[in-house]
Symmetry: C2
């Protein structure tokens, strides 16, 4: 299709200089006379010349292309998570003039890592194989959203444990003692850690952990509906529910409302993520805000440092998660 593009040679000819000089102008090497620079610039403009990035890359031997590998396990792509990661990585790449290769992997077909200078893996789950390959082949890489302490890999993750603690502590502080939780999928690190945070705060405050108050969810709204219905049937209904994701919290809220109960007067609901949808509906959702966008941006920055050789040591970062107070939680006394 695309007609034969002009090469550096054509520019050189038109400008009446050598291709070396043209190359110098393109790469902003200072040792070129103003006169020659002008000639070249003009020739470039006339011929609509743009250097062939592939050839440049081969000649320079460096590759400023980075890959973002997102596993496409169920539902992830409808999540705020994926969106924020893509947005963060994408915008950071534009800023650093990095080319971003996006791969939506099924976890089985190996992703072509050959043309990447470095890779960002969105979580480990579902990326195990490609991550292993990258590590074996010595391709610079960084994992996000998973504090991958068991393997020697760079990572940037969110403080799920701390976030969950803040959430539950807040509920305790406003007087709740009958606090239930709908967990995230236990195969995810976030699911495990948020539950851990929940338990640890109860313990810390001398509140017994009741098994019937811990219901397994999987981040889906469906699972939250089932969980909430079970919680509402309990003899001793909880006065607060901490859901491990906003989607689940929103569904819990909906179920509660459907049963004719009020939120937060009868039951407080607290989520995790800070999805935009927290802001809508009859009751805005109190939740834990994850710095996903920031996590993604930092991942790019760190990877960039690694690729350009500015960092040698392993990067291991945990970003804080913060409580965002809105309307869905209130003082427990009201529900007594």
């Amino acid at each position: 299709m695309a007609e034969k593009r002009n090469r550096i040679e054509d520019v050189a000819k038109l400008a009446g200089v050598s291709i070396t000089t043209v190359s110098r102008v393109i790469n902003k090497v200072p040792t070129v006379t103003e006169d020659n620079r002008k000639k070249v610039d003009e020739a470039v403009r006339k011929l609509r010349f743009r250097p062939d990035v592939t050839a440049q890359r081969l000649a320079k031997g460096v590759n400023y292309t980075i890959g973002l590998v997102i596993p496409r396990y169920e539902g992830i792509f409808f999540s705020f998570f994926a969106m924020e990661i893509i947005r963060g990585v994408g915008i950071a790449c534009e800023g650093l003039k990095l080319d971003l290769l996006l791969h939506i992997s099924n976890g089985r077909t190996p992703v072509n890592l050959g043309n990447m200078g470095g890779v960002i893996f969105a979580d480990i789950l579902g990326n195990e194989k490609d991550l292993t390959t990258a590590l074996e082949d010595n391709i610079p890489c960084i994992v996000i959203n998973n504090a991958a302490d068991t393997i020697p890999v760079n990572y940037i993750a969110v403080d799920n444990l701390g976030g969950a603690k803040k959430a539950v502590e807040y509920l305790v502080n406003i007087g709740h003692r009958k606090i239930a939780t709908i967990t995230g999928d236990p195969i995810t690190q976030a699911g495990v850690q948020r539950l851990e945070g929940y338990k640890s705060i109860l313990e810390k405050n001398g509140i017994p952990i009741r098994e019937e108050y811990i219901i397994k969810g999987d981040y889906s709204r469906r699972s939250a509906r089932i969980a909430t219905e079970r919680l509402l049937k309990l003899k001793e209904q909880p006065t607060a529910i901490f859901a491990a994701s906003d989607d689940m919290a929103l569904e819990a809220l909906e179920v509660i409302l459907e049963k004719g109960l009020r939120v937060p007067e009868d039951i407080s609901v607290l989520g995790f993520d800070d999805n935009p949808s927290c802001l809508y509906g009859p009751v805005t959702l109190t939740t834990v805000k994850q710095p996903l966008f920031q996590m993604a941006q930092e991942a790019v920055k760190e990877l960039h440092k690694i690729i350009s050789g500015k960092t040698k040591t392993l990067v291991k970062k945990i970003l804080p998660a913060e409580l965002v107070i809105r309307e869905s939680c209130t003082n427990a006394s009201k529900s007594k």
Copy 2:
């Protein structure tokens, strides 16, 4: 960082054949003896050799990398639209073994099109400059979500006009005559066409078009709130509202409920998009489903054909949009 990779030469040496033979094995050229193939395969495995994609590309002269350029005007990245497009394009690329370069453009800094074999532009709005460059430089490209009939460019778009017609026709058919609309942003083609569809069906059915029933929105929930409040204050309240997006429809629904009115008994609400959020909340939303995912997938397929020279003529496709009936609309007689 990444240690010196093995080259084709190393493989050749280890396997005891020429680099050409290795190249043949890599590229699955049939004229290689079984014996040699085995030797090469083994050497490849031993050395963990993976061909340098950059060099391959330069030598082959074809580039199976495609770009997806998404303008980052306000809010688009929180939209279902962006997500579906990325997902569709991403998955299609994995299937066709195309590398996908994602660019989130600000519309000003030119996107580096140099290393793309072809480009998909998500809409024209915000992409004007890069699109012009691509066209001038003869880079194969295709526009999605905009029936770009004024310029000679390939496109795949959604039938907004038809979709809006189906929506409003449905409202008319179930007896509504006082139908209001909250429009999309008129700078978008979708905004204009959906309004056009609304008007044309009213006309077709001899229902006078009332200016006070047409309120300008911009796809944002905020704009829908204002619009809905205005509509509810009208002496002659509409019995149905057609919003040009689900987000706006959902906000309208919320406002109506807040005022103590019922949906659909008092006012029917109809959206456009078929966001997942249509399924939640007190009333599920009747809407028009856009084949975004499919549009994205087809764009990749068409672009692939163009790049590999299988298509010469301009691609111009309009995909149908379909009505999805849920709970938010009902017979007008109920609201009389």
